[in-house]
Each structure stands twice: as C-alpha cells, then as structure tokens.
C-alpha cells in the first residue's frame, strides 16, 4: 500500500480513461476546466487539467521527480514547485505599448518580465531526429483520485477526504491551513496552493456535474472523444471494459504505488526510419520511454490495441475498437443514466 493511513474503500470508484492515440493537443479540456474552476487571483497558475508534450519536462517542470515517492514506491521528501522556475507565472502582455501608444515607436506584442516556464513551454518539441525517429505525443493530466492518495496521507489536519460514494478526493478548504504538505507529497503534482486564499486546491472531478450524471468538463468538451468516464466496477460501462476486460488502459507511474484511478490507452507510433531510409521495425516512441511512464504493462496493452486494430482493419468485429472509436460520444460516459443522460 502506498500510504500508512487506513482508508475505508469507497463503495464505487469513479475513474477516467484517456486514449492517447486520439489526443490532438488542442487544450480544450484545459480551457474547459480552467474557465470553470480556476479564474480567480491565486489560481492563475493552477491547471487542474493540463496537456503536456511527452517526452518533455511537463507541468510543473520535472514533476515526476519532485513528488514524495521513489521509483519503488517508498516515501521520500517531496518538493513544492517554484512559481517562476517550475510553474511559470501567468503572463502579462505589453498591450498598452502595443495597441494604445499614441506617439513614438510601438512595441511588438510580447510578455512582460522574463518568463522562464509555463504550462506549454516545451510543447511539440518531443525527442528524436527528423526524419529518423522524431516523436512526441500529448499527455493530458489531472488528479488521479488515487486509491491511496499521497496528498491525504500528507495532511496533518485530515483536511483531505476520499468520498465514500465515488472515491473522489477532495480538499476541505474550511479545515485546510495552507501547510502545503499535500502539494509537496503528490508525486503527480496535481495539488496546487492558492496563495491569495492560503488553501490547497485540486481537481474535484467536476463533482457537481457528476452528481447530476454529467461528465467532467474536461471529458465532455473533448473534441477528440478520447476521454471515458464511469465506475471501475460497472461491467456495462467503458471503464471496466477498457481497464479490466481488455486491459488496455493502464495508470501513469504505477510504481508510485498509490493506485491512480485515471488510466491511459498508451500511444502507438509509426516505425523509426533507419540509415537506409527504410522502416526499422522499431516504434518511434521507444518502448523504454513508455515503460518509464506506464510500467511494464504497457507492452501487453499496446499489443492488444494493435491486434484489435488489425482485426478491425481486416473487417472483423472488435468490441475494443468500437469503444475506442467512440461512434456515439454518449457511450464514453456511463455515470448514472437513471439520473441524467446527455443528448447531442
């Protein structure tokens, strides 16, 4: 177990699956989340949902190396990201000097100050050399609503709860004193600190929407239809099928041993090109890199996805491909249709 505090398992665990083969990096999810929940001063740098380019340093910078878990799941002291070096302050632009200056030379539009990092600083860079093996993919990230949350274990005030009814992890801001051990401890760096209100903030899995049977904004607004939302134990829903039945959806950094409940269908990639200009048979995205993100289960997950894709391509039926294609996006969400079901 990843934490020492004993938790009663929730009755149902809500979960999300993201098919990385379909993410186009449009950031609609991020904007949907940001505009809904984090528009106040103090939350300007807080992206409960962000999309980063992988391989890359991510947001906050080098987040996976600064949490409270070693590569073998042992507790170590984490770090609180710096607002300039690791998060990057939200930019202010020279609008006055660009658009409203009445005399003298105007300036080009540019950020003021000296920004050093930001949510998309290394977007689309990736790694490798063109045309041999250049590669990248998009990695949307949000709170994993872990089964054994490091943030909950870190809070000396028990201000973080895991809801019994759905396993959503919430900060009780009335109890929070802003000590930031949760920010420090989360190895996914998905707890933020609001310095204006002096409390921790994090993804609430769009709790008010979920209670109405509506998917979180990041999932509902996704143009790529790559997000699936439901319950891990719902055998009629896409989550159970992708995670447990087909075993193609796997968690990010399972070695942290916290039981994340956000799962990813790992990205396939075309073959690298050898010196002779011919495909090498090796994927452009190195398997070792994918294993560093998703653990050894990524090999089998990719093999299953590729085999099912080949079946579908050959005209054979594939339940897995039908789910991932998402012909009707309503089927991506299996929350509680008895309460509410969205329509096109």
């Amino acid at each position: 177990m990843g934490i020492s505090r004993q938790l009663t398992p929730p009755k149902h665990q809500v979960a999300m699956v993201l098919d990385l083969n379909k993410c186009l990096g449009c950031h609609t999810c991020t904007v949907a989340c940001k505009t809904l929940w984090n528009r106040d001063q103090g939350t300007d740098y807080a992206y409960w949902n962000n999309v980063e380019t992988a391989p890359g340093k991510g947001y906050p910078k080098m987040w996976s190396a600064t949490g409270s878990r070693t590569e073998t799941g042992e507790v170590k002291r984490g770090e609180i990201p710096d607002v300039d070096q690791d998060y990057g302050r939200s930019w202010k632009f020279n609008h006055d000097k660009t658009f409203f200056k009445s005399n003298g030379p105007r300036e080009w539009l540019k950020p003021e100050g000296n920004p050093q990092w930001g949510p998309n600083w290394d977007e689309d860079r990736g790694e490798g050399e063109y045309p041999q093996d250049n590669h990248y993919f998009y990695l949307p990230r949000l709170c994993n609503h872990c089964t054994h949350p490091a943030c909950l274990d870190a809070c000396p005030r028990s201000a973080i709860d895991k809801r019994q009814e759905d396993g959503i992890v919430l900060v009780n801001q009335d109890k929070c004193h802003g000590y930031r051990f949760c920010v420090e401890a989360c190895p996914y760096k998905k707890v933020y600190f609001d310095p204006k209100r002096q409390v921790a903030t994090k993804c609430i899995f769009c709790l008010p929407r979920m209670e109405e049977g509506t998917a979180p904004a990041c999932a509902r607004q996704c143009p790529g239809r790559l997000r699936f939302v439901g319950y891990l134990d719902d055998e009629n829903g896409p989550i159970w099928k992708l995670v447990h039945k087909w075993k193609v959806a796997i968690p990010l950094h399972p070695e942290f041993d916290l039981g994340p409940n956000v799962f990813y269908v790992p990205p396939m990639s075309p073959q690298a090109i050898g010196p002779d200009g011919q495909p090498t048979g090796e994927p452009r995205i190195p398997m070792s890199y994918l294993e560093s993100l998703f653990g050894p289960a990524v090999r089998d997950a990719l093999a299953i996805v590729e085999a099912e894709r080949a079946k579908k391509k050959a005209g054979q039926p594939s339940e897995l491909m039908d789910i991932l294609i998402a012909y009707d996006w309503n089927n991506n969400f299996h929350i509680d249709p008895a309460v509410h079901r969205e329509v096109i």
Binding site: I3, V75, S158, H177, F181
Partner: protein
C-alpha cells in the same frame, strides 16, 4: 519585564498525524531556532515578548507557493495535565495565540492534540507588535486577560522560520511548559 533566554528544541515529527511527515522528515533532529529571549510582565494583564534570531525574514508569502512566512505562538494549558508537545490531547485542551508576519492581528488558537488546531479571531484587546532589526525578530504580545494563563501560570512557545519552510509541526519549541 523579566527576561530570560530559553532553549528551543526541534518539535518531533515522529508522531505527526498522517503517514508522510514522519517519514519524509525523519531526519529532522536540529532546532532551526536554538533559543529565544522571553520577557514577561504581569503587572497589568500579560505582556510577553519573544526575540529570536532570523537571518532571512519572511513577511509576505502571497505570491509563491514555495514561500512560508515567519511566525511564533504562545501556548497555555486549559487543564493542568494538558501535554504541551502534542498541543493538548482529547479532553485536555490547550489554548494559544499565534502571530504571523503577514498579519496585523494575532489569532487565537485552541487544540486537543496534533492536527486539531482551530484558529479564530483573538479578542479585540489582544495585540501582537512585531519588529525585525539586526537579524532578530521581536514580537510582543499584549494580553490584558487570558484566563487559562492566569489559572495555570505556565506557557510554551513555538517559532517557525518561514525561509526554512517551517510550518505546522515543523517548528522549534520550548522544552516544556515554562513558568510565568
């Protein structure tokens, strides 16, 4: 005002609530504030001053999540057997007054064990005047009435160095209850 130098020790992290702090800060065995000068005047209510060395004062942490502010607190037992090191215990409450470098008014606190601290507005006539000079903080609490201190006539102190990321249970504390 009677003034004395008080040795401070590192607050033990081993029994901090939750599983993280005890493990992550297991190597924390030296008080970052080794001593404090404590002055007490009981002529008219209670005037208690604390003075401690602080190389990097942290007064404003309003724009960076990595920054913590300097603070100090006085703690008094509400019941005679209340333990100071765990900030009381269930049924054995402690009360206190907290000064933070970013606030103009002190806050009242009450606790019945680690992790149970409740903050509230201090009485209007409670004051905490602070001054940073020559590498030292000096904070003077003026507390015209404070029933548990009047009754038990002992108190404990805690100091947080914000620049060293001290907050919550990461602090330097007196070795026990101090007589007035």
């Amino acid at each position: 005002m009677n003034t004395r130098s008080i040795k401070l020790v590192v607050a033990p992290t081993g029994f901090q609530p939750g599983g993280y702090i005890a493990k992550a800060y297991a190597d924390r065995n030296t008080a970052l504030t080794g001593k404090a000068d404590v002055g007490v005047d009981t002529a008219n209510g209670f005037v208690i001053s604390l003075r401690w060395k602080c190389q990097h004062p942290m007064i404003d942490a309003s724009d960076n999540p990595r920054q913590f502010i300097d603070a100090c607190a006085l703690l008094v037992p509400e019941k005679a057997d209340a333990p100071w090191i765990t900030m009381g215990a269930p049924g054995l409450p402690v009360a206190g007054v907290l000064w933070r470098a970013d606030k103009t008014q002190p806050m009242a606190i009450r606790a019945e064990g680690l992790g149970s601290v409740q903050r509230s507005e201090a009485p209007n006539n409670w004051k905490a005047e602070s001054n940073y000079a020559d590498g030292y903080w000096r904070v003077t609490f003026t507390l015209p009435q404070w029933a548990p201190l009047a009754e038990h006539r002992q108190f404990a102190i805690a100091v947080w160095q914000g620049a060293q990321s001290e907050r919550a249970g990461l602090k330097s504390i007196s070795e026990g209850w101090l007589p007035l």
